[in-house]
Subunit: 239 residues, 6 copies
Amino acid sequence: MLLSELNQQSAAEAIHNGVTALLPIGATEVHGNHLPLGTDSFLAQGVAEKTAQKLGPGRGLVLPCVHYGQVWSLRATPGTVDIPDAVLTPYLTHIALSMYRAGVRRFAFINAHVGNCPAVKAAMRQVWAQCPDMKVFSFTYPGAEEVIKRVCTSRRPHKAYFHACEIETSYMLYLCPERVDMGKAICQYPEFPADFDVTPWPWTDIMDVAVMGDATAATAEKGRAIIDVVVDNIVRLMG
Amino acid sequence: MLLSELNQQSAAEAIHNGVTALLPIGATEVHGNHLPLGTDSFLAQGVAEKTAQKLGPGRGLVLPCVHYGQVWSLRATPGTVDIPDAVLTPYLTHIALSMYRAGVRRFAFINAHVGNCPAVKAAMRQVWAQCPDMKVFSFTYPGAEEVIKRVCTSRRPHKAYFHACEIETSYMLYLCPERVDMGKAICQYPEFPADFDVTPWPWTDIMDVAVMGDATAATAEKGRAIIDVVVDNIVRLMG
Amino acid sequence: MLLSELNQQSAAEAIHNGVTALLPIGATEVHGNHLPLGTDSFLAQGVAEKTAQKLGPGRGLVLPCVHYGQVWSLRATPGTVDIPDAVLTPYLTHIALSMYRAGVRRFAFINAHVGNCPAVKAAMRQVWAQCPDMKVFSFTYPGAEEVIKRVCTSRRPHKAYFHACEIETSYMLYLCPERVDMGKAICQYPEFPADFDVTPWPWTDIMDVAVMGDATAATAEKGRAIIDVVVDNIVRLMG
Amino acid sequence: MLLSELNQQSAAEAIHNGVTALLPIGATEVHGNHLPLGTDSFLAQGVAEKTAQKLGPGRGLVLPCVHYGQVWSLRATPGTVDIPDAVLTPYLTHIALSMYRAGVRRFAFINAHVGNCPAVKAAMRQVWAQCPDMKVFSFTYPGAEEVIKRVCTSRRPHKAYFHACEIETSYMLYLCPERVDMGKAICQYPEFPADFDVTPWPWTDIMDVAVMGDATAATAEKGRAIIDVVVDNIVRLMG
Amino acid sequence: MLLSELNQQSAAEAIHNGVTALLPIGATEVHGNHLPLGTDSFLAQGVAEKTAQKLGPGRGLVLPCVHYGQVWSLRATPGTVDIPDAVLTPYLTHIALSMYRAGVRRFAFINAHVGNCPAVKAAMRQVWAQCPDMKVFSFTYPGAEEVIKRVCTSRRPHKAYFHACEIETSYMLYLCPERVDMGKAICQYPEFPADFDVTPWPWTDIMDVAVMGDATAATAEKGRAIIDVVVDNIVRLMG
Amino acid sequence: MLLSELNQQSAAEAIHNGVTALLPIGATEVHGNHLPLGTDSFLAQGVAEKTAQKLGPGRGLVLPCVHYGQVWSLRATPGTVDIPDAVLTPYLTHIALSMYRAGVRRFAFINAHVGNCPAVKAAMRQVWAQCPDMKVFSFTYPGAEEVIKRVCTSRRPHKAYFHACEIETSYMLYLCPERVDMGKAICQYPEFPADFDVTPWPWTDIMDVAVMGDATAATAEKGRAIIDVVVDNIVRLMG
């Protein structure tokens, strides 16, 4: 169920029947030339919809996607939008509070962009404190790491970071292949300065095309393997 | 052009070539049982896309839609999301500031929900003050009123307010007819308390189904007549 | 009754007896050369006092006037003071909250400056949410429009805006004629750019002397006709 | 000169000619039964007007009075209005910034209520930091203490505090005697708890009628002696 | 007892047994060349520890010192740290709220830097309002003034201000003599401009070495005389 | 060099000579019964001091420790203090801005508490944006992980979290052994609920004594091995 497609009565019924609200949170951020700027939003939407399907008919309600998030690292690239945490956190919080006020008692932030994590975590804690009888979750590809280690073949560009690479491209090939242009996929391993993790480094200082890793190694099959586990995990963890 | 579908290079080129950025701003709000909760977002998206078409190839860039706005009046209805102005305004402002930083020099808020107007106006003024060499506009159906008076046949429910009625339903019948269920359209004229305009009145205190006006009078033709003028006006007013 | 003139006991008694608190909200803003910068404050004060009289002895309590409001459009003129909405709203809110804490259960913002409307509306809603058993109202010349159409003779300068014109000058001629210098009244119809309503336009970009309309057509009689209806409406709408 | 009485041209000329802007800041607060709730506003206005006279024709511009300030200690009394510092400070700051933007280069906060001092000081420092070429001052009865010691006869109720007593009543008898009802003046010395200065004590916990000191000892002559020195000091200190 | 040295069980027991929490608040600010930049922190810590001793075993709990406060006047000197009131106040408030949540019912801010007073007072009032059953105090050398008048011999540099002078140096000689270099103590009486108290004057505009008064007159004995009374007062005032 | 021990001249010289400012950031948080509540502050202070020593005479300046940080997980334990990110971030930012204003051009946050990381990162980015010619770093035990894997012997309690365990206890045994009571060290592996990482779980819900891991396996030698590498890394990464 997509909230934006429901009418007043069906929305009220779904909530009355105890639906789990799923809020996809993406970003508008460059992802090289083989993936679109909406990549993180498409992925958040895709994971949320698969989660709703897995939950079963009438049990998962996908809310409209939040398309603008925190993108500090690539904020200098044309087309990328950066929302500061101090603005993003209350925006997310009020969406959840509105759902709570309406009677929702199980709410999940389905986040697909790592830069959003601090704001999502802060929002989750605020909602938790204000809505004592609502279960609130946040998911950013839970359990993906194990499958990635198993199915992905290219070297990781950095201990913590990757971008528009084998992993994200595989997600897109699985969830919305029509938006991927593999002919433009590249393999790029930027050189990280020694102090990359301990002082602010805009990613635009270390690469022109925003790809961190080997996008050419991506396949829909790898994307399916990871995402299906992620979705299973989300459903399982919500209990 | 949809920003979410562009890749890094095409986004950069579009901005470099002087594209006008168009930000659709909708809401998630009940609109009776014949229209979906995403109505205002679908309309904002539709108007923005038609504006981009009218501007001509490569001249209009539609940004991802902002799906959550200020909905005080119906905030008590299940499924409706209400973002306070103090949160919405900086969220909108930062989207425009990101575009400005990227080189955009013509930016328009394309708003389809009247409740967003104060936040949009405040955001527009802040952007104007911070981006002296960017033209910034906000549009909420400019020029619709004249056409409405000419083509609409039902009585207006209130001097200032209408909702999910002949007007909005006609817009939807023109822009996304597949999302309208005319079989559930109703005609409803709530009785307004004398002090409705001068003291806070949640709309849920005066009606159950969120329809204010006669939705049964809606036609795609009326929607087309109004929206086409609106789009012409937007293009003309941006000069 | 003017709150500033009461002593501790009479203020306590008035509130204990269920008085309606009336807060005049004006502005400090140039109004051409025939009207003083305090025009909006004088008008707010005048309307509030007439409302108190109409309510009857001991029933209306006029609070000290708020002399500084939101004046974005003319903020570039010497002497004009502009308070941002984000500052004005909590200032107004705390005045009402103080009255509520003291026992007042009927509170009205009597506003005379259109630029204050967003802040006043926001304050009214916050007070309403925090003071569930206090009736809170906001009035900006309620019902004036009908009488204006009937008694005023000059052309309106703009669909939405007018300033220091036949209307406001008539108000002043009725409420404090000693502050009007009709010898300096002018008739001025600025040319509005096509995009005046959709992009920020400081009024100083379209006129030097801050008059929008025909001040020479003003009479005390017109002012009386409109203001008396406004005051009747305020009293009637508060029930 | 009162700004509220000037027209557009005379305000512009006064500012162009280097006028000193004087902002009276009062409060709305109970002052027993012999003084009105507007006492601090009347006093601020009075001191500002006398200062303008002393400065000489065309040299001092009295702005409209700020009638609502920080009144924590007596906030529980009916009719008293309390504005938190966090709201009051930016309100005051924006008034001064508007004057600066208009060309004013000498600005004085004329404060008559001790509770406003922290907000006034904070505002003064912010204005100072943002307006490097404007002299900004704040005065709360400068030099009064020396004269008080000389002319007042009653015992001081507390090392730091007094209220509606010989001092303030004398000010009122000098500046607006028509608003004083000496028949209701009382002498009251509340007993201060030992920890009065080191833990929050609403004044309403130690007295019913808000008088701290001996109002019966007040005379217009004492008020004149103090206020005239205060005004001389203000003029002298502004250089 | 120092909270930082307690373990989980002993902290819980101390709080359970009704300990008084004492929060030392200092500053990082230049104090000439005979005193260290940590002077105010050392003094706050010293007063808090002596207070805890005076309260008796298990009755006073000294929290870790807040080392950064509001230092507007000397903010231009290298090494001095200035935290605005708007940041300092909630920082202090949350420390007290955490103690309250843990069960503490008697809390004292032990402040040693006059510039912190507005933030400390604001924090105290917020804590008082939110923790109705906790006694909250703030102390800035209570009762010092009387003893200073008796034991100090040098002239006061200013009615309200002194700095790194006979008084503060004596405190340091008593509380941590090993940190004082009397060989560098100086006597300095800056000339105060006439408008020093009514317009912002950074102290760096009137002196190079940050000493206001006669440090050479300081003795440990004077420090002991004053501080012991201060500590007695703190204990007595908390009841 | 400890800033709190310097005098005005030596602080100015150190900064003038290009010193690196090191700000220790700890917390006040229970760490079981074998470690004190000040553990994170002692560790931050210790790492900062060793870093200053490693930098060499006159090259590192240790600022006073920030003793209160963000401690959401254990905020329910008596004695623990929790400062929200929205308060902590500007507090940290202003310390760095003060140093920058004074002439410091190399600044490092030396953080010892993982809960502070979001606030520290946010502060670092704000400082970076406002101080373009100052290098700003943040360190939370950089490079510790590799050594931990090599020298520690006990099982890790959780993929991401550990507390008062072999690791932290070893740090304390190396840096301030006199504050460790190994007689009270315990080995505790709380059972983590499946959804521990995706919904808010106060740690007090899964354990009483705040130990996560095996504190009994700690040795000063292990602490030395890790901390010395950490300090080497800090010095090396600052270049």
